[in-house]
């Protein structure tokens, strides 16, 4: 600034410096506008729930407007386990195929279909699940319908992360396997899959977080039940945490509000734990395997 003034270009430089300062101030405000909602949501939801929180909600079933959330905790567990098995199988297998058996510049149609499927609104999944599985197939509100619909919803995430993780494994590994005379399947299974496992696990964890947080696909496929889950294949409605938030938040009852807040607290805690676990998986594996390519480069000075 002082230098510019002596150079005699003061007005222009001052304006440009001002422009610079305005830009970065605006960016700082933007940053605050991103951080503030995160803190506000987490603190707000936790604060509202903690005031009335009691651990008995984890061990009792709902009674009228009050009672616990045990049915939903169990139901969420069942649904998520089902999604993990079904979507995990389909997603990982699809990702392995896209990474290992199609060239990066081919298979665009399959890859594109998978990515576009991830953009389909969740209510469309839910409604198609309702008209096809629940009504047309006469499954009724059933846990299987919920699992199928939710699995279709999260498969693209798992496929994508699996493919990226496998593509990050150096080609040397595959060449080494070939040089040893291993078949392509054996190379994949013994050499390539192992370094990609953390990436795949991260994808599964994030898919899990999405599956736990979804409401719309389940409302009309899995129904809701305030009793413990039955493992019947059809006509077996099941509880899940998001339903409690969705239904109880505007009931004219303080007990119902508490239950909605408690369910939201559990949801947000689960999601936070899953995100932290996913981060830990990535961090530890990046730290202890120097031969893996580091995907996120350090910020160059």
């Amino acid at each position: 600034m002082a230098l510019a003034a002596t150079a005699g270009a003061a007005p222009g430089v001052r304006r440009r410096k001002l422009g610079n300062r305005v830009l970065w101030s605006a960016c700082a405000v933007a940053l605050a506008l991103v951080v503030a909602p995160v803190v506000w949501i987490v603190v707000g939801v936790v604060g509202r729930a903690v005031a009335h929180f009691h651990f008995s909600i984890l061990s009792t079933y709902p009674v009228g407007n009050g009672g616990g959330l045990l049915n939903s905790v169990e139901g969420t567990g069942v649904i998520v386990a089902g999604v993990l098995v079904l979507a995990g199988t389909v997603g990982v297998a699809g990702g392995v195929y896209l990474a290992e058996y199609t060239r990066a510049d081919r298979g665009g149609f399959l890859r594109g279909a998978s990515e576009v499927l991830a953009g389909v609104p969740s209510i469309v999944f839910g409604y198609v699940g309702y008209i096809v599985l629940v009504v047309r197939f006469h499954w009724g509100d059933s846990v299987v319908a919920g699992i199928v619909v939710l699995s279709l919803l999260v498969v693209p995430y798992i496929t994508k992360t699996t493919e990226v993780a496998l593509r990050n494994v150096p080609t040397n590994y595959r060449e080494g396997g070939e040089a040893l005379g291993m078949s392509s399947g054996a190379t994949l299974r013994r050499l390539v899959l192992r370094p990609a496992l953390p990436g795949i696990a991260t994808g599964l964890i994030l898919a899990l977080a999405i599956a736990i947080g979804e409401t719309a696909p389940l409302l009309y496929t899995a129904g809701y039940s305030s009793r413990p889950p039955t493992f019947a294949l059809h006509h077996s409605p099941i509880g899940y945490l998001t339903y409690n938030v969705w239904t109880d938040f505007n009931q004219p009852s303080a007990l119902a509000h508490q239950r909605a807040n408690d369910a939201a607290l559990l949801l947000i805690l689960i999601v936070l734990v899953l995100i932290v676990v996913a981060r830990l998986v990535v961090m530890t594996t990046q730290r202890y395997s120097p031969d893996r390519p580091q995907r996120v480069g350090k910020a160059t000075p």
Binding site: L31, G44, V45, T102, Y130, L188, A209, T242
Partner: protein, 408 residues
């Protein structure tokens, strides 16, 4: 085809079984003399003692091939592996086709009954459900049933537009700070914040919007401009949109803000990743020419990432268009209320499907549920256009792939 595959598998297993004993015995045969010759000079009498471990080691060396042989018969099926995996890779494509097909099949009666008026009317009436359904053009329907989704399409587009207008500058600004100014540790923290924002379930956003954000915006924020500025300006079409009253905590503006927060992580994370790819040399060249940070951003960084950011924005738009639960909770869920102002309750396509399915089931002719299928079809087409457009745009010009869905 299958039988030849099986015989081939069997044949190769025999070949493997035939070859592996040779492989197992050969190292042992080589190893045993070596062990005995090494142990012989050290102690003649105790030769058997030190000689035993090499024999054991030889057996150990022989064991893995044996184990491998046992498993290999099982894993010879891996010849079929690519074909099996191929099936799984096709599932998303099949699912997409099924979604479209099922919706078209279910919506056909409604499409015939509602006609093109579906997109030009704002009306939602199940008709007289207390009398027998009548038939018009082969479609059974309750008398006086009338559907028009104009206000829902409007509500969907306007709320998403509000979200985009609010979210994109904030997201890009955040990405700029994170890439250009913050130390790595802090930018990791911001990345964590974005992941949390992407991971928070939409019901939790809805709950927060209903109890906390909605009342705050309606009572403390929106009146700042609605009551103090726009209510004093002339009552002309565009300005009228911003006039109060600002409502009680639900409605278009609240839903728009909640949607904006929900799509922030997609746009911000993608912009950040794109900005990191801008070649350092070009930026430094701009700085060396005497440009300020802001000028080099405008001259170098932004042109480099523009199309990618636009792609991410369209992807966020797709997310906002399809968001269901949060909007159903804070939007007020009106079905046939044209959007005339920024604040009143409204409805989107997705929220209407989830809110009215229960009541639609009371229509025994089935036209109400068919119409919801038509709505879902409209929503699916809109979001497909947004998604495919975003991906085509980005694939043509940028190297970074867009994140899928929620962007985590």
């Amino acid at each position: 085809m299958l039988s030849t595959g099986r015989t081939k598998v069997g044949g190769e297993e025999e070949a493997a079984a035939g070859s592996s004993p040779r492989a197992a015995t050969a190292p042992a045969a080589v190893h045993a003399p070596a062990g005995s010759s090494a142990s012989a000079p050290s102690s003649g009498g105790g030769g058997a003692g030190p000689g035993a471990p090499p024999a054991g080691a030889g057996g150990g060396a022989g064991r893995p091939p044996a184990r491998r042989r046992g498993r290999s018969s099982w894993w010879r099926a891996e010849r079929l592996l690519p074909h099996g995996l191929h099936v799984f890779a096709f599932i998303p494509l099949v699912a997409l086709a099924l979604l479209l097909g099922a919706l078209v099949w279910k919506a056909l009666p409604a499409i015939r009954y509602n006609g093109t008026g579906f997109f030009t009317r704002s009306v939602w009436s199940l008709g007289n459900l207390y009398v027998l359904p009548v038939k018009t053009g082969g479609v059974a329907h309750p008398p006086e049933a009338a559907y028009g989704a104009l206000s829902l399409v409007e509500g969907t587009l306007v709320s998403s537009a509000i979200a985009i207008v609010l979210a994109v500058p904030v997201a890009v600004g955040t990405a700029l700070v994170v890439v250009e100014k913050l130390p790595p540790r802090l930018s990791t923290g911001i990345g964590f914040c974005l992941e949390v924002l992407a991971g928070v379930p939409s019901v939790v956003f809805g709950l927060w919007g209903w109890f906390t954000l909605g009342p705050f915006l309606a009572h403390d924020i929106a009146p700042i401009w609605a009551d103090h500025i726009f209510n004093h300006l002339p009552d002309v079409p565009v300005l009228r949109f911003f006039r109060g009253p600002t409502g009680g905590g639900t409605g278009l503006f609240v839903a728009g803000v909640v949607l904006a927060i929900m799509i922030l992580p997609i746009v911000a994370a993608t912009s950040r990743d794109l900005l990191r790819q801008v070649p350092r040399g070009t930026v430094e060249g701009a700085l060396a020419l005497g440009m300020t940070d802001a000028e080099s951003l405008r001259a170098v960084n932004m042109p480099w990432v523009r199309s990618g950011v636009i792609g991410a924005t369209v992807l966020g738009l797709g997310r906002a268009l399809g968001e269901t639960i949060a909007v159903a909770m804070v939007g007020g869920s009106l079905v046939a209320a044209p959007v005339h102002s920024l604040y009143p309750d409204f409805g989107t396509i997705a929220a209407t499907i989830v809110n009215t399915l229960d009541s639609a089931l009371t229509d025994v002719s089935g036209l109400a549920t068919d119409t919801l299928a038509e709505l879902a079809l409209v929503l699916l087409v809109i979001t497909l256009v947004a998604n495919v457009g975003a991906r085509l745009l980005v694939r043509r010009v940028a190297t970074t792939a867009l994140p899928v869905g929620r962007g985590i």
